[in-house]
């Protein structure tokens, strides 16, 4: 089993005619993802990588009976693309786009309260259920099938940790990048809950980073609600306070919360071992299994 996506997931690629959209559509199909449609306003009727293109998401979803979409639309138009996807009965919308204005995302966030569709991201690498389906830009070759769930705020850090796991023969049920932006659709807690309820996930790796309170809240959730063991990693231990490091999220306020130390302490208090290096995380997972 897995969470959110599997071999039956029927995927629409929003922004399929753009450079990244086209490249990753090919990559997804090559990996085995069931990409059933693409969208690009005004390009309806064309084909990209053998996939039919529609003008609107609604048309694509209705014509191809899709379950999920993945958004490669440029940042200036991405929030609109997400709203469009949320206006259909898709189960999951995965927004890869980086650099969406935060106020746009605040509006999207409100819409999320009004619909049943789940958003993952934005500014995230996507989601993969190894051997079945990937939605997004994750490099499929480093993942392997197995019993460890992975949730991370960072894209490339996810790959690093997965690589360590895979090289030790530890496969993954599903890996999900929730994205590094201040406002995201799927939180650590949402993902942890899904893994907790997935009978095939025997352990979870959670990769956090400095900034915000999400890791602290996730630690509280783990302590209260989870039986599945969790291993943690926190990036940004050496980040000086007050400096923004890349992600809008990765800024330390210096006021005691949001620091790597506060997050590591919270996780340790919840019984979650936190590795010093990605390799140590893999060690911890081996211990937990």
């Amino acid at each position: 089993m897995s969470i959110l996506v599997d071999e039956d997931t029927r995927v629409v690629v929003q922004g399929i005619t753009g450079g990244e959209g086209k490249f990753h559509t090919e990559q997804m199909i090559e990996y085995g993802t069931n990409v059933v449609a693409g969208t690009s306003p005004g390009k309806g009727g064309q084909e990209v990588a053998g996939v039919p293109v529609y003008d609107t998401v609604e048309e694509a979803v209705e014509a191809e009976d899709a379950d999920a979409s993945v958004v490669f639309v440029p940042p200036a138009f991405a929030a609109d693309a997400i709203f469009e996807a949320l206006d259909t009965d898709l189960d999951l919308v995965v927004a890869i786009t980086e650099g969406i204005p935060t106020q746009d995302m605040a509006k999207v966030n409100k819409r999320l309260d009004e619909v049943d569709t789940r958003l993952q991201g934005p500014n995230c690498p996507g989601i993969i259920t190894p051997g079945e389906s990937k939605l997004g830009i994750l490099p499929g070759n480093i993942f392997s099938e197995g019993n460890v769930g992975l949730v991370s705020r960072s894209g490339t850090l996810t790959y690093q940790v997965v690589d360590s796991l895979t090289q030790r023969g530890i496969g993954q049920t599903t890996a999900i990048g929730i994205g590094g932006d201040p406002i995201i659709g799927t939180s650590f807690i949402d993902a942890l809950e899904l893994f907790e309820n997935d009978p095939d996930t025997d352990a979870v790796v959670m990769c956090g980073e400095i900034g915000g309170e999400d890791e602290e809240e996730a630690a509280a959730y783990i302590a209260e609600h989870m039986d599945t063991p969790v291993a943690g990693f926190i990036a940004g231990r050496t980040a000086p306070p007050g400096k923004r490091m890349g992600h809008a999220g990765a800024i330390v306020s210096g006021s005691g919360t949001g620091t790597a130390a506060s997050k590591i302490d919270a996780l340790n208090d919840a019984g979650v071992p936190v590795g010093d290096t990605p390799e140590e995380v893999a060690d911890d997972v081996e211990d937990l299994l």
């Binding site: 204005p101 819409r111 490339t156 690093q160 940004g236 990765a250």
Partner: protein, 380 residues
């Protein structure tokens, strides 16, 4: 992007927020001239992106031309917490009986904007927030509706703002929200919002920080960006569109993705090195960006060795490798040793393309960091 006080005040005043009379000066003579026009007392205020300007000597209250000259002379050209001061705002001083704080920011925990009002303005509001959080009235805003007038009133009454000025303060708060929204701000603040003896409200300071991701919608604000006021290297990073933070070590770090770059910094530290910088070349990095990234890191004289850590998703290893070859090809001699670690999409193709006469190629992150730390030690 953070606007200077004088820029933010212009934006606020245009929207109808009352501000004191003021004028910008870049020379001492100009400053004195403005002071004479405005009439004493006036404040002479350094226009740099530094908190606590007053305590650091960047703000002086003067009573006459002589004092104005002295103050302008002292402040113009001074180094304020690492920032060179080349502009001062000369501003009429306001007699006040109360100092309020009003602000709008994004509450990322709630995923919605929040309006804040406090009667404990004029001091470090972060301290108030930490030590006495109930002294700040908060009202969350639904971003689809915008701030309803009743929400501004509620925040103002909840904060205990004196009734005589409650209506005016609520009106300033409403305007501030509109400014926040219309300018895609991350923060819009007035601290202090002064209340005069005559119960007038006046914005004695103005903060407007704009979401960099939304600047494409605001070419007028983007033009206000003041490169000179930043660290030269950070300004360069800005020009290249990189997320860059300068640190005080000697190991240059380039990578893709904030989480992985931070982890690389952490590992440099873990293996006994000292990071010289944080540099995220972002997703979808192409050859040109790699050239620029190396240019940046080599421009930092403190750097003794560079680790280049790319795990490809959207960034393809072959593109990165071409960029590294191209960038290093521009040097007759490689200025500092470069260790490259490529993984992920097209990583193998990338490793094949890499010219290993120019760089050291490592397969693992830990290996690459350790090797770079060694090189950096050797160089010293």
């Amino acid at each position: 992007m953070r606007l200077h006080e004088y820029q933010a005040k212009d934006v606020f005043a245009d929207a109808g927020v009352p501000t004191p009379p003021s004028a910008l000066a870049t020379t001492v003579d100009e400053a004195v001239e403005h002071a004479e026009e405005i009439g004493y007392p006036v404040a002479v205020k350094a226009q740099v992106h530094v908190g606590g300007r007053g305590k650091a000597g960047g703000i002086k209250l003067v009573e006459n031309a002589e004092e104005a000259r002295e103050a302008a002379d002292a402040i113009l050209g001074m180094d304020l917490k690492g920032y060179h001061v080349d502009k001062v705002l000369v501003e009429g001083a306001v007699d006040f009986k109360n100092e309020l704080y009003v602000g709008i920011t994004m509450d990322r925990g709630e995923g919605k904007p929040v309006a804040m009002v406090s009667t404990q303005g004029g001091v470090n509001i972060e301290e108030v927030a930490a030590e006495n959080p109930e002294a700040i009235a908060r009202e969350h805003i639904d971003p689809a509706f915008g701030m309803h007038p009743y929400q501004a009133r509620k925040a103002v009454y909840d904060a205990g703002v004196p009734k005589a000025v409650a209506r005016d303060v609520a009106s300033v708060l409403t305007t501030l929200y509109d400014l926040w929204e219309n300018n895609d701000a991350s923060d819009a603040e007035i601290n202090p919002l002064m209340i005069t003896e005559d119960d007038e409200v006046i914005a004695a300071d103005a903060v407007l920080n704009v979401d960099d991701d939304a600047l494409f919608r605001h070419p007028d604000l983007a033009e206000m960006e003041d490169e000179a006021a930043e660290d030269a290297l950070e300004a360069k990073a800005n020009e290249y569109g990189f997320d860059y933070v300068r640190l005080d070590g000697n190991v240059g770090i380039i990578g893709n993705g904030a989480g992985l770059v931070m982890t690389t910094l952490d590992l440099v530290d873990y293996y006994g090195g000292k990071p010289a910088n944080f540099l995220d070349i972002g997703g979808g990095a192409k050859a040109e960006r790699v050239v620029n990234a190396l240019d940046m890191v080599f421009s930092d004289d403190n750097v003794d060795a560079v680790v280049f850590n790319i795990f490809g998703g959207i960034t393809r290893g072959d593109e990165v490798a071409k960029g590294i070859n191209e960038a290093l090809g521009q040097f007759d001699e490689i200025p500092k040793p470069v260790v490259v670690r490529l993984a992920g999409t097209n990583a193998e193709e990338g490793r094949e393309i890499l010219n290993d006469e120019l760089v050291t190629v490592e397969e693992t992150l830990e290996g690459a960091v350790q090797r770079t730390v060694e090189y950096a030690e050797d160089e010293q």
